[in-house]
Symmetry: C2
DNA sequence: TGCGGTATTCCACTATAATGGATTATTGTC
DNA sequence: GACAATAATCCATTATAGTGGAATACCGCA
């Protein structure tokens, strides 16, 4: 084993305790023996995928919940404010399109969301992102046009378009006035 | 085992082939024997978590990539439009606050995002969500006030507030005019 | 503090994960 | 089709995952 797997034992114990479950309770719920549960929690055994799956289902967790550093656990009482003028902006070369990156830096590559402002004639043309990526674009003002594989749909204010982003795709404003949208990208 | 674990073998094989790797290549990259790889791919063995972790790291995958039905893999060429009038709305009892649910149904409990419109005096008061939950609120128009553990911050247009949602928290409009925001909730 | 109930860990055992080497299957070239 | 190279599977073995029952530890109450 080259890269040691994350220690899942402490997390599993934490989640069990949070649900006020004994080892016996969880053993019943998951059909994994109490002994095995104890060994896993103490890091004395390395569960098989099937066993781990049973545990996550019984505890209502995702696998990612056991290993994920990610969903930013902010310190209690911390409200972090990213002021408008500190919000990263990307502007298209022709100046017709502005993307403000609303998502935090640590989400990059997993989940990103943007505030898009696009003047008439503006376009965002994207190559395929990683396998499984998808986008959700909600028009706040004005109309957008989404194209995926020569399929074109118009998104009017209040509507949301959901489409695969693991193929080339584009977002355009073919209307007569400026448009604004929220774009959520999941990788 | 109550709930059979998803079959990961076919997926692992697919990912290996997509990278033009032989079993021997992947064995080297992951330090898992060729035999074991073959058994896993054919569903003849149930890998331990440590083995599975090594494989995901060597292939550059997340665990979720092996089991996830989830990140909506839309059929190629499908652009699904959720029209404005079909977008679920939640209205507060006093009518001062409207939440339109922009996220897809299958994201519920994992990732949700909303278009919030709040009139002066409106408030959204929330109990603690599940451990690790956090929220990101971007003010599009008007000002919002976020309170977490008696800490209060104001969010002005274009700014984004990030705060833990696994403790009681609230969102208010104490201004004189209507406000609009995008709220992203990660669980 | 003592006691009872129960939560957790220990123990001996069985089943299987995981290995390295041998064998078989597959593929590409002539 | 024959042949060589290599990709994948088989095989026998060792280590450990996983079990049920027993023993120990822990906790709450009088």
């Amino acid at each position: 084993m080259t890269i040691p797997a994350p220690a899942i034992g402490p997390r599993l114990k934490e989640e069990r305790k949070a649900r006020a479950m004994t080892l016996t309770d969880l053993a019943s719920a998951s059909n994994v023996s109490r002994s095995m549960l104890s060994q896993i929690e103490r890091g004395e055994a390395n569960p098989t995928f099937a066993t781990l799956w049973s545990l996550t289902q019984a505890l209502g967790l995702k696998l990612e919940d056991l290993t994920h550093v990610g969903a930013p656990i902010l310190p209690i009482s911390a409200i972090k404010i990213a002021p408008a003028h500190f919000t990263p902006e990307i502007r298209s070369e022709d100046g017709l399109c502005t993307l403000r990156i609303l998502s935090p830096a640590e989400s990059v590559g997993a989940l990103e969301w943007y505030d898009i402002q696009m003047n008439p004639g503006g376009a965002l043309i994207s190559n395929a992102h990683r396998h499984g990526a998808c986008e959700h674009l909600t028009a706040l003002d004005g109309d957008f046009e989404i194209e995926v594989n020569q399929i074109v749909e118009t998104v009017s204010p209040g509507a949301t378009a959901r489409y695969p982003a693991d193929v080339p795709h584009s977002i355009r404003n073919r209307g007569a006035r400026a448009a604004r949208a929220v774009l959520v990208v999941r990788f």
